[in-house]
């Protein structure tokens, strides 16, 4: 086998690599554009045509007060809804993966339903529920309720996928050795399922921050980050949008990279296969 691959195979492989590279360029074109335009000095109110390079926007990333306020609101909503959804969703996941019980397959189906419903239907139907009552007004509370609603399914399915191979007899072993149920949960169950729960929480947080359509229907006059961008996009697109978007991107990529690297190190140290 002096020539491992025929010419035809090599051409095919090269073509595939080129195609994949083009795919990645496609994915990153608008990202490059967003980052580049955070260094633009726009003429007028729309930061969409390249004028000249400047660092001014990065000197005061919070210059757009309404946008900063909206980002802050989004972060609070995401934090609260993620905590609620992670607790509810993880409980569902533990219940479904640990026990087999009557109705569990029907329940599985129910859980997938919200994910196969278009966002616009979820948003508008929830709005009709809120329209018909006088207990809560459209605003912060209704947005949190809406976000938890779609996050719960995501969390439950993500956590369940992560803890599928988990050996529940370890709990019995702990209890046989005299641990109380609470102690068992804290020392055995939680450490094992925590990585899955953290991953699900991160996903839920990201979904909440970025949700536009469902929020749009249930926000009242409250402005989240996407809503503020949407509302302002008709009158102005400030470069601070690009600065904040770039910062969020860098932050999440850094968190993920650090998480992956330390996770891999820890696994390597403990000699566990990834």
């Amino acid at each position: 086998m002096s020539r491992a691959f025929s010419l035809r195979t090599r051409v095919g492989r090269g073509a595939l690599a080129a195609y994949a590279a083009a795919g990645f360029i496609f994915l990153f074109t608008p990202i490059a554009f967003i980052v580049a335009f955070s260094f633009n000095k726009p003429k007028g109110k729309f930061n969409i045509i390249w004028q000249e390079f400047t660092l001014d926007n990065w000197r005061n990333p919070l210059a757009d007060e309404a946008l900063t306020e909206a980002l802050w609101t989004s972060l609070r909503i995401a934090a609260l809804s993620t905590v609620i959804a992670t607790i509810l969703g993880s409980m569902i996941a533990i219940s479904l993966s640990r026990y087999t019980f009557r109705g569990s397959s029907t329940y599985n189906f129910l859980l997938v339903l919200p994910l196969t419903t278009p966002e616009i239907v979820l948003g508008s139907s929830l709005a009709t529920l809120f329209l018909g009552q006088t207990i809560v007004e459209f605003g912060f509370t209704t947005i949190v309720i809406a976000h938890v609603m779609f996050q719960v399914s995501f969390v439950a399915l993500t956590v369940r996928a992560r803890i599928r191979g988990y050996d529940w007899t370890l709990e019995q072993a702990a209890q046989d050795l005299g641990a109380s149920p609470f102690m068992t949960f804290r020392k055995v169950t939680l450490p094992l399922i925590l990585p899955g729960i953290m991953a699900a929480a991160l996903l839920a947080f990201a979904l909440s921050i970025d949700d536009f359509i469902i929020t749009f229907f249930n926000a009242g006059s409250t402005m989240t980050f996407p809503l503020q961008i949407f509302g302002a996009s008709r009158v102005s697109i400030s470069p601070q949008i690009n600065v904040l978007a770039t910062s969020i991107l860098l932050l999440t990529v850094t968190i993920l990279a650090v998480g992956t690297v330390t996770g891999a190190r820890r696994r390597a140290r403990h000699g566990i296969e990834a």
């Binding site: 990202i31 569990s104 919200p114 278009p118 239907v121 329209l131 309720i145 609603m149």
Partner: protein, 358 residues
């Protein structure tokens, strides 16, 4: 003998616990659904909430006082309960209020609440006034789904089989663009595709504008505000939802199967068609659902990249609901959209379905 009796009592205890737990779960779900949907007169729903509260206390008491078997039998339902209550009240009940709204009429334009009156004409209006929007929604979503398969499949294939040790990093790169806001990305495309933007000038430099015009992608030298721009935006925004599930199913393919096929004198392309492609169908199936469903309900791409003649049903629902405050017709459209998508998904899964979707 005695142990058998004890065993029997235990299992009876357990199965009655299971039945009780399940019954309570269903009951609570139905009650919350009823409260949310407004089936009950005002006083009764408060009473029901008290009853649900007491039932939960009773469940906890039963679990604490009962034996370990009963506790074990009740545990799964106890864990499910809070999340299920949320979904019953804020997912299922809204679907009911949506249906109810779609059969209501507003007496004057300025009423907040529409009155329920079996108003089937809302559905007539939805079809007669917004038929083209329905058509475009499914056409654009279908075209975008086909494009994401064309672009996404080779990329997923490359990552799965040629990624080597870069696999995880490449996979991460697929997701990274999605850490910037959906809206910001779409606005970025609108400036890239703009009349004096980079895309048009590159096309003009390469003298491709004639060809693109010929096959209907460009219109009068413009990219922005065309139907193709909307499809393009949808394709971009949902591409990772196609790449990731295809990757997951390709990753499971045993590469030795391909070697085996080639050892048996199958050509590379035939090995792909007969071995790899069938094994990756579940991924394509999941990706199609994850792309088509949100794309059909989207209005952001049509808003930023389209023109008034390329609006999709999402734009109409949004406009009727939030701007015209015409809740009944908006609800009818949302309901029809959901019904059509459900039917399409059922037909589709009949032909391509796999059990391990979730």
């Amino acid at each position: 003998m005695a142990t058998a009796v004890v065993e029997r009592v235990r299992s009876a205890d357990r199965s009655s616990g299971e039945k009780g737990g399940l019954a309570l779960l269903i009951l609570v779900g139905v009650c919350l659904l009823a409260i949310g949907a407004g089936w009950l007169p005002d006083g009764l729903d408060f009473l029901l909430l008290v009853v649900i509260g007491l039932a939960l206390v009773g469940l906890i008491m039963a679990a604490v006082l009962g034996g370990p078997d009963l506790r074990r039998a009740l545990a799964p339902y106890g864990l499910l309960k809070p999340g299920s209550m949320w979904l019953a009240l804020f997912y299922l009940a809204p679907l009911w209020t949506l249906l109810r709204n779609s059969l209501s009429a507003k007496e004057t334009r300025f009423d907040v609440q529409a009155k329920f009156s079996w108003e089937f004409s809302n559905y007539g209006t939805a079809f007669s006034d917004f038929g083209p929007q329905f058509g475009r929604a499914f056409l654009y979503a279908g075209a975008a789904t086909a494009l994401t398969i064309l672009i996404g499949y080779p990329v997923a294939y490359f990552i799965a089989f040629r990624g080597g040790r870069w696999r995880n990093i490449l996979l991460g790169l697929v997701v990274v663009p999605f850490f910037t806001s959906y809206l910001i990305r779409t606005i970025a495309w609108s400036s890239i595709l703009a009349d004096s933007g980079p895309a048009v000038s590159v096309i003009e430099k390469l003298r491709l504008d004639g060809i693109l015009e010929g096959i209907g992608i460009m219109d009068d030298g413009r990219l922005i505000n065309t139907a193709s721009a909307v499809v393009f935006g949808l394709t971009y925004n949902f591409l990772p939802f196609m790449i990731l599930p295809i990757y997951v199913s390709l990753e499971k393919v045993d590469t030795r199967l391909m070697d085996a096929a080639q050892d048996l004198y199958s050509s590379a392309s035939r090995a792909f068609r007969k071995v790899v492609l069938p094994l990756s169908i579940p991924g394509v199936f999941a990706g199609t659902l994850l792309t088509f469903i949100p794309a059909a309900g989207d209005f952001v791409n049509a808003q930023f990249l389209g023109n008034p003649n390329t609006t999709m049903i999402g734009n109409s629902i949004q406009d009727q609901f939030l701007r015209q405050n015409n809740y009944p017709v908006a609800s009818a459209m949302a309901f029809v959209l959901m019904a059509i998508i459900t039917i399409l998904v059922l037909i589709y899964s009949k032909f391509f379905g796999t059990e391990d979707l979730a």
